[in-house]
């Protein structure tokens, strides 16, 4: 073809392609500058904190830095029998340095995470090490307590050598790595996180289902009613957005408590007896009710925006071609709303899976979610790395759901408005 062989030139002799690129460049810079503030904002407030969180969740440098010489000398130790003298010597000097800096308490806490029993023997070692003589540290340390002569404890120290660890992630799913390096479940009576994960998924799933069941008719009504009624209804749907989340949750507490309005009503109509009032708060029921109400608009709006675009003549066509109203709905209307259903369900599910305030206030012990556990570790135990690990597990869970959704429905099929 001639257009391939012959280069097109502009009037001043520059190839058209070059000229075009030059002209486009200015626009590109302008466009970039326009989004730059937002890009910067996202990097500072989103990418950076999440990266930091990721680092924190695998960071295990503390012990590594506290016992540098010990770990260096341990490199040659095979871990079968007690470590050689040089390890004990290195440990002694590391330990003396920690005593000077008054950090040996932290070491004992850290090592105690790995194996129980370190606290007391470190305390004892600190006391006794003051009177240590130079040389033969192995004998001297081992004589402090018989656990210092137990190879298990030295193995436990060695396990803390790497600067990075995935222990926190294992802990997040109630597993741990034992002395032999096998990954095993924690004893049944101490598994808390798996229950929480399952409960989080369960509550998020059912909240999504309830939201869908309630939002679908509302959205349909909104899309088909005449303007003056649909506007009013739309305001009713949006009204919760204008009220503080805390206020809404608190009002559910007033409604659902045992002496609350809902129970009063049930007693009044004789559904339950006065001395046998229903417990609807501080359990799953509370979480279900309050979360469904709060997340409902997130389902209504995408559904509405999709339904608004479906011509009413399609349903009529379905009926005039002989489909019963149900067939017309199921074969014609419903498939066309799937993009809205997908968007709404994804939105509600992802919001529900990380919900915090509402379950914390009305969920009680059996209605709290994984996010409450994360908050607990952030605020109470100060185990930030564990909180980060769980946060990241939650995030990757959401990404998995997103990926699954993309596989099943296709993300192009989503419509948020």
């Amino acid at each position: 073809m001639s257009s391939e062989t012959k280069q097109i030139l502009t009037t001043d002799g520059i190839p058209l392609e070059v000229s075009l690129k030059k002209a486009e460049k200015k626009n590109k810079i302008k466009a970039f500058l326009l989004v730059a503030p937002l890009l910067l904002f996202i990097i500072i407030t989103y990418v950076f904190p999440i990266g930091d969180m990721l680092m924190r969740s695998v960071d295990d440098k503390m012990v590594t830095e506290m016992l540098p010489k010990t770990f260096k000398s341990m490199e040659k130790w095979d871990g079968q029998d007690l470590p050689p003298e040089e390890v004990f010597e290195a440990f002694y000097f590391d330990f003396q340095k920690l005593i000077e800096e008054e950090r040996e308490g932290k070491l004992s806490t850290q090592l105690n995470y790995t194996k129980n029993g370190f606290k007391s023997i470190i305390k004892k070692l600190r006391r006794k090490s003051k009177s240590f003589e130079e040389g033969n540290y192995k004998e001297q340390i081992m004589s402090v307590h018989r656990r210092w002569a137990d190879v298990e404890y030295w193995r436990a120290i060695k396990r803390r050598a790497p600067a990075y660890t995935y222990q926190k992630y294992l802990k997040g799913i109630d597993m741990y790595e034992n002395e032999k390096g096998e990954i095993i479940n924690v004893p049944e009576d101490r598994r808390v996180h798996r229950i929480l994960w399952m409960r989080t998924l369960e509550i998020a799933f059912f909240v999504t289902v309830f939201c869908f069941l309630m939002a679908y008719p509302i959205a349909h009504l909104l899309a088909t009613l005449p303007m003056k009624y649909s506007n009013l209804l739309m305001i009713c749907v949006l009204l919760p957005f204008w009220t503080s989340l805390l206020v809404r949750t608190a009002s559910w507490m007033i409604l659902l408590q045992q002496q609350g309005i809902v129970n009063d009503f049930f007693v009044m109509i004789g559904l339950v007896s006065d001395d046998n009032r229903l417990e609807m708060m501080f359990n799953k029921t509370g979480s279900y009710v309050a979360m469904t109400q709060i997340l409902l608009p997130f389902m209504v709006l995408p559904l509405y925006s999709v339904m608004k675009t479906i011509s009413p003549s399609l349903m009529r066509a379905g009926k005039s071609l002989g489909g019963t109203p149900f067939v017309a709905f199921w074969k014609v209307y419903f498939p066309l709303t799937i993009p809205g259903i997908g968007a709404g369900c994804l939105l509600v599910f992802i919001l529900a899976i990380g919900y915090y305030i509402t379950p914390a206030l009305v969920g009680g012990a059996s209605g709290t979610l994984i996010s409450n556990q994360i908050a607990f570790h952030m605020k109470s135990t100060l185990d930030w790395s564990f909180a980060s690990a769980m946060g990241l597990m939650l995030l990757s869970g959401v990404l998995v759901i997103y990926w699954l959704y993309n596989k099943l429905v296709g993300i192009d099929n989503i419509k948020l408005g």
Partner: protein, 361 residues
């Protein structure tokens, strides 16, 4: 085989949406089997409402509609077995052309091989073979329209309703689709009720046209009769072009009447005037008036040319005639008429038979 003259019958049908205004008033309409009938009228005249009542999406406020002798007001739309083509086609966007056509067959539980045959037949009828696996979004407007027509016919309904089906197409496509729909109707002999506000569409396609205005059928007759012999001034005005003179009947005798205008008297054909003194609007088609009439016409008047618009095959001339400055003439483009110039006074003549004295506007 005797043709059922009352295949569809509207019997004293009233329809009101708000309880205050009647959208359809006392509608009496019979449609014969195999007929192509068009409901024509301006928007808001009640024609679409009639169609919706027939399809079952609206219920008559009063009166009854009969289909093949059976009252259908209480039958839901999906049991009426009436095919329908919608204004915006209403093809199911998530189904292929094949699935769209299969929909009415599937709900009727027609076996697949038989259904496939019907679909093939319907698609070849609208010359869209080979398009079965396309999605409606991949088709042009005209093709979508033809799919919609095929879908409304695929389950062999006795009656097909079309609600301004060509409204969204451009002019050329609209014209070719008009003929296509007309040919399909002729070939399969289905009864068609067609709604449009486009009079040329109505005139080219229909056996009979019902002109709607103000919730009433103004005239129900064949296209030529509708054009040549409008029964009232609304129909005369709505169908085709029309020159009017408002005046008062001063004499009526022997199939002619004299109408007194402001400046002169004209002779006219009394259609809806009965006696002297009645107000009337005289209606005259532009092509029935001639310039410089040679033979003896009983109306000859002088007018001044105010505007000349060249239209290629003919020239439109606006003349101020007997106080009507909107009098239009269509002059064929031939050499004998080259003396038409702006500002010239010319003689205009017409036969009183063509000047129809109708009800006053």
């Amino acid at each position: 085989m005797s043709v059922n003259k009352e295949f569809v019958k509207f019997d004293k049908v009233d329809k009101s949406y708000d309880g205050k205004v009647l959208v359809v008033k006392d509608l009496q309409l019979d449609i014969a089997e195999g007929e192509f009938i068009t409901m024509l009228g301006p928007s808001g005249s009640g024609k679409t409402t009639c169609l919706m009542m027939l399809a079952g999406f609206e219920t008559p406020t009063n009166g009854e509609i009969y289909l093949d002798g059976n009252a259908i007001s209480s039958i839901p739309p999906h049991k009426r077995g009436i095919g329908m083509v919608f204004q915006n086609y209403a093809l199911f966007p998530h189904m292929t052309v094949y699935e769209n056509l299969a929909f009415p067959l599937r709900v009727r539980k027609i076996p697949k091989d038989e259904a496939d045959k019907k679909i093939d037949k319907a698609l070849s009828m609208v010359s869209l073979q080979g398009f079965a696996q396309r999605m409606p979004g991949q088709l042009s407007g005209g093709q979508q329209q033809r799919v919609a027509v095929a879908r409304s016919l695929v389950f062999d309904p006795q009656l097909v309703l079309m609600d301004e089906p060509l409204g969204a197409l451009d002019k050329n496509l609209r014209e070719s689709m008009q003929y296509e729909i007309k040919h399909i109707h002729e070939n399969i002999g289905v009864t068609v009720v067609y709604v449009t506000h486009d009079q040329s569409e109505a005139l080219t396609m229909s056996n009979r046209i019902a002109v709607f205005n103000d919730g009433k059928v103004q005239q129900l007759s064949s296209p030529d009769e509708l054009y040549e012999k409008p029964v009232n001034s609304f129909v005369a005005e709505f169908i085709g072009e029309n020159n009017t003179f408002a005046g008062e009947v001063s004499d009526i005798s022997g199939g002619k009447c004299k109408v007194k205008l402001a400046s002169a008297d004209i002779l006219a054909n009394p259609i809806s005037v009965k006696g002297k003194g009645e107000r009337t609007t005289v209606s005259l088609r532009p092509e029935r008036a001639l310039i410089n009439p040679s033979d003896k016409m009983d109306n000859i008047h002088k007018g001044k040319i105010e505007e000349v618009i060249y239209h290629g095959d003919h020239t439109r001339v606006r003349i101020n005639l007997l106080g009507n400055s909107e009098f239009i003439l269509k002059v064929p483009n031939s050499s004998s008429n080259l003396d038409i110039k702006l500002g010239n006074e010319i003689k205009i003549g017409w036969n009183s038979e063509d000047a129809r004295a109708l009800d006053p506007k």
